[in-house]
Subunit: 887 residues, 2 copies
Amino acid sequence: MASKWIYFFSKEKTDGNRDQKELLGGKGANLAEMCSLGLPVPPGFTVSTQACLDFYEQDKSFSEEIKSQVLEALKNVEAITGKKFGDASDPLLFSVRSGARVSMPGMMDTVLNLGLNEEVVEGLIKKSGNARFAWDSYRRFIQMYSNVVLGVNTSMLEILLEDLKDARGVEEDTELSAEDLKDLSETFKRTLTSEFGVVFPEDPSEQLWKAIGAVFDSWNNPRAIRYRKINSFSDDWGTAVNVQSMVYGNMGDDCATGVCFTRDPSTGEKKFFGEYLINAQGEDVVAGIRTPCPINDCSKNESNKTLATLEEAMPVVFAELTSVYKKLESHYQDMQDIEFTVEKGKLFLLQTRNGKRTTTAALKIATDLVNEGLVDKKEVIMRIDPEDLNQLLHPTLDPEAKKLVLTTGLPASPGAATGQIVFDSDTAHELNEAGKKVILIRQETSPEDIHGMAASEGILTARGGMTSHAAVVARGMGKPCVAGCSGVFINEEHKTCTIAGKGYKEGEYITIEGGTGEVISGEVPTIEATISDDFATFMSWADEFRVLKIRTNADNPEDSKVAINFGAEGIGLCRTEHMFFDVERILAIREMIFSQNPGDREKALSKLLPFQKKDFLGIFKEMDGKPVNIRLLDPPLHEFLPQRDVEKDDLAAALEISREEIERIISTLEEMNPMLGHRGCRLGVTFPEIYCMQARAIIEAAIEASDSGVVVKPEIMIPLISHAKELSYINDWVKRTIDNIFQEKGKTVDYKLGTMIELPRAAITAAEIAEHADFFSFGTNDLTQTTFGLSRDDAGKFLPYYVDQKILPCDPFVSLDQSGVGFLVDLATKEGRKTNPKMHIGICGEHGGEPNSIDFCHRTGLDYVSCSPYRIPIARLSAAQAAIRNG
Amino acid sequence: MASKWIYFFSKEKTDGNRDQKELLGGKGANLAEMCSLGLPVPPGFTVSTQACLDFYEQDKSFSEEIKSQVLEALKNVEAITGKKFGDASDPLLFSVRSGARVSMPGMMDTVLNLGLNEEVVEGLIKKSGNARFAWDSYRRFIQMYSNVVLGVNTSMLEILLEDLKDARGVEEDTELSAEDLKDLSETFKRTLTSEFGVVFPEDPSEQLWKAIGAVFDSWNNPRAIRYRKINSFSDDWGTAVNVQSMVYGNMGDDCATGVCFTRDPSTGEKKFFGEYLINAQGEDVVAGIRTPCPINDCSKNESNKTLATLEEAMPVVFAELTSVYKKLESHYQDMQDIEFTVEKGKLFLLQTRNGKRTTTAALKIATDLVNEGLVDKKEVIMRIDPEDLNQLLHPTLDPEAKKLVLTTGLPASPGAATGQIVFDSDTAHELNEAGKKVILIRQETSPEDIHGMAASEGILTARGGMTSHAAVVARGMGKPCVAGCSGVFINEEHKTCTIAGKGYKEGEYITIEGGTGEVISGEVPTIEATISDDFATFMSWADEFRVLKIRTNADNPEDSKVAINFGAEGIGLCRTEHMFFDVERILAIREMIFSQNPGDREKALSKLLPFQKKDFLGIFKEMDGKPVNIRLLDPPLHEFLPQRDVEKDDLAAALEISREEIERIISTLEEMNPMLGHRGCRLGVTFPEIYCMQARAIIEAAIEASDSGVVVKPEIMIPLISHAKELSYINDWVKRTIDNIFQEKGKTVDYKLGTMIELPRAAITAAEIAEHADFFSFGTNDLTQTTFGLSRDDAGKFLPYYVDQKILPCDPFVSLDQSGVGFLVDLATKEGRKTNPKMHIGICGEHGGEPNSIDFCHRTGLDYVSCSPYRIPIARLSAAQAAIRNG
């Protein structure tokens, strides 16, 4: 039986609908939906994603079935439009556009005006009565087709265009004459042959098949592959191709093309918002080559406020567009991003989709939609990608700080960023790898810049509007972006620029504020994100659904405070060793390490006791009423050793031993595999006085805090347990110490004593370990290392290659490996609870703030996840989504 | 309800039997059994091991119940013997001896003649009419009691005895007069008071209770604890105490004491064999102070052949003893080690037990017992400790080698050993730790020497017989021992000796041959063990029962040959990298490592190909018809890097790059945790050309071997797999390579492609991995490391402490951790077979030759274990025992 490969769409007959994104791509599904809604959409057809997969299966060729279905659909379009493809009198032209199931910035391969050739262009002139338009369309077609389909680097054609404008002394393409454009198209074709050996195809049918094939090919271009990898999208989705009859925004001044949003994509405010250009086509608006006009007063800003709005220029069209956008938003129940073209005063819709937006806007829209009664809380909670909350959590400029504003551009993506300037994406990437913070400055960005943008703190472009590539992508990434900043002039070759007349070289610092569009001299202090009412409302809704508690990893009172503000319900991991690196303390630590007997060790430890106690006291006060889980010393002792000669001499003097003895002891602490060495509870077993000191500091601080009215809930956590007896052995020491303190003080506090589960053996024997533990906390960093036999420190040499080659689906240190490491987490949870049903169980590895891992933790029935303070809102939302998703 | 703490034994009434070793200890259970058999055993009672545990529970005191039961038993003995304990006219004396459930050389605490004091000794004189005997008994009692019960270092008393003999000008204790001995006992008691502040207890009852308590105490003396640790015996067993009425072998020349074996404990020959001394007591025979006489002609050797046999001296007693030994052997169905005493011509039995024996003897006895129809094959298979086979597998002297025999002692424990001489056990231990091979030379050994003997290659003593401490313990340990070598004179203080007049200093080399008693000058080459007919018969019986196949770990044809001789059924692990360290090859390896692109790498690899191919060809020929499992490159590349400057320069010259570049590349290969780094299949993924070269070498060698008529069964094994996709990725490369070879050669061979399971994740996801594997082989060394998160290289700092503190029951690298690592082995086996029921599964870690681990492998249903060639017989026997034990 024949398969259906082609889906027709038109007002008259439409095969698909909005729910078929997997088959038709987002664009195709929405074109079909708009047709069904009776909206003015140029008719066309969608070649399905299945056809794309078939294309690859057939070694990049089209089956006869697909060929015949395309021809049939083409005939239908001809019938509806009354034009004929390749007809020299009234030609039917097509746009050919890719459309995968999700919007992929890496794959913007579009060909307009397909079907033109030397002969057909004459028909277009005849029919339109506009030779300039026809030749402009033809030269655009040659450019786009050469680039997208023929794979030619078309910058040479761009240069020919610029040369021609220079020769004519004009600024805008629109100022070139029909003759100019005719000559240019000739020149283009000649150049293609002379420079690239390419003969531009004249046969419209050949043009079409090659274009469809090129879109399919583009599914596997490096940009697309990279984008899918970044977003963990499957390579098996394929892309659809939309073949749609052309309408022309470039046929004269009664023509236009534009992009609009049903609500403000930056703030989320309920106001219609967009940009357009008269006598323009396709990508002209988003490519940022001309500064677009505002569609209405709401859409005005500093750079376009003097330009005529669509409302003013074409009031009838604007009224129709207004009615359309309302219909679409209410139909889709979400903010829409709409592409339209006006041909000779008639409105056509080319695309609608859920609009990209800043997270601020997303939350505003979400809360508004719920308040407007359009959608329910569950629905809006599921709509926000937790990672997007990152945007809100980035620091903003300190309002108290002095700042020298050099110039202002478009406020394209909110948030403040400071960094060293670079002028190309590769350098951005390199410096970021080297740990630098960079601001990427570009004339305008293109899909080739994705990796540079990802590597930057913020993006500044000299050209382009609020819907330019830079703006859209930066918002998607949650990066600050100032776009279309005319005060910036770039010399890419010399890696310099001037900003408002002041010269800057690569590596100098600037600051940008994407919420205001300000470009600021040097480094400016930033402050932590403040939480909007919408955010608070939205998060409170999330909290209504989530089951998992959210704790934080925090080692000091300051971080604890930040975490509380973000909604932390306790500390899941307080790493005591981070407190040791302080200058005042490190010498005492070293004295402890170099002690050759328990007596000396206790003496050195007694110097540390007051420091640790003070730390814990501060944390207990901050976390008043909330549990505080403190992990006893974990890293191998050599992490604390003196590195520099002067440190070694200081230590030798303090210990009254020779420098040689210091060196000797250091050498005895060296390990072949420190990750698997003398660390964690193994230190507690061999040097119990260390853990006893730490237990004393915790409990004395708890008593003191309790005395001052604070509600303390200390949890003492033993790391790196592999055997139940290790835990019972250490518990004996710790409990004895605590009982002594209770006797000394004549007072007790409640505390819990438990363990990390971070070694496979601990997970496997969890039932036995649970006999000695009030709680488990999964240390999934170490558990991932040992389960995979993979050192995070050393994996850099091959792990990226593994992910590239798809041997691993993703970096298991980023997203929990559910089938391997997850098996152990699940096993230990079940076995632990069998022994001790009352025990509470959480996770404190980096995975505790990662949405997929949080979903796993929810399904596994953990009590809480713990993550860094800035990830807490992400974790709260992820936990809510997990609860909703898993019903 | 009252518990039963005390078990009486006598011809008239006996509470216990041979099956109660756990309760009564081996000695007590066998005393009871002999009484039941009607044999002449002096009556007495056993204080049970339960009483020992109770003693410790009561803070080292005796409960009233125990006290009253002891007193009741004592009265029973008085009733049967007609003598009274503490009676000055006809005194009842006791021997007090420890007796745990297994014989423990570390705990030989015996007190004879208990109940004597100044007053009672007069009664003994009166009753025996032998003052010399009575005073000799008393001074012996003082000596033993002071040492064992009072804990005094009695060497000072020994010196007093030696001084007295010197003063009297006599050699033997027996030449001292009654008066001498009376004075000596006075001197002893005075010295105890003046030198040690000890008043020797006069009250017999106090003597008894203290003695029982001392035996209980001795359960926890350091020697006993150490011995239990070496043998993995539980501390919770406790020891029993046997309180037995005295009979006297030292009452005159119609008295004697002796030890005999029902078969020869060295060779296993069916001949009655033993030693005795006229007018001696207790430990005189085994202590080696006097050279004992042979009990019959069979028992004669070079040093005692002129002495009168028991058969000649006491023919009636000898006849009775003959009848007794036959009865005992047939009753116990095993060779017996019997202690007897003759008092005034009457035979008494003091102990019987299954005799310790050399492994040669054990196998001879085992096969004889089956052939005699006394026991069945299963029974004898279970009787041999697999580790004891080690004895047979040690090298013997090369008969071709020239050797200068210095002198000859008793052939106390077979096998040849070469080493540097030391004169004390601590030095033996130290040098052994430092990697030296030592021969321990002692006047005679004592339980204090256990650790020194364990650390030595062999033991040479100047005094003592075939049943001396040195001989018995050495046989137990499977160490070569030459005992009672009168040609050796030791100066312990100067750490020198003369052997047959030639001076030797500590550290000089000698060789001993424990099967002949020869002491040989310098180092002598040794050859591998040859296999006796008994061994072959016994092993063939074991093979009838075992289910597990036994393979070997072998990296070259030579080892393969040894392994085949020991019964290997294939190679379970051939480590290709061991072949790389050869001088000829290492440069090519380094060129491969330093290659910066696949082309150079392939060029370097092509140099290695012929070497590898030759290795494999040799192995295939040796293993004709048997499977050969070859693991592809596993260790991190930096293991092969040049260390010395000259090597670096050679490499720089070969590669035509600078020394600096060499250093730079070396530094890029450094890893934080090499065990978890870029190794195993990760090398195969990132540098597939390495594995392709190895696959080519294997398959080309297989085809070549096959062409020459050899039956080849190559198995290619990929190490360190953590994810199924790693294996499928590498399989693709390897299969492609092999298919190419098949095409080139126009010929194919069958081969298997599988993987190590040595990471927790591999075990967990075994079902998926099995889709790509023909076999699994558990690499339990690495699996133990990752499951525990424990680096074998670094564990030395704390693992011994863990075992000491009983946090871990044993070193998990020695005996497989069944509840942790074993869980993963079991899981992977089940999951792997679910996917691929035909796959074969084995183990190739060190555990593959360890009996407990082999039992686990049997229970888990593995197909085979693989171990080093010399462990193969142990593995075969362990596998048979596992099959029998688990029904």
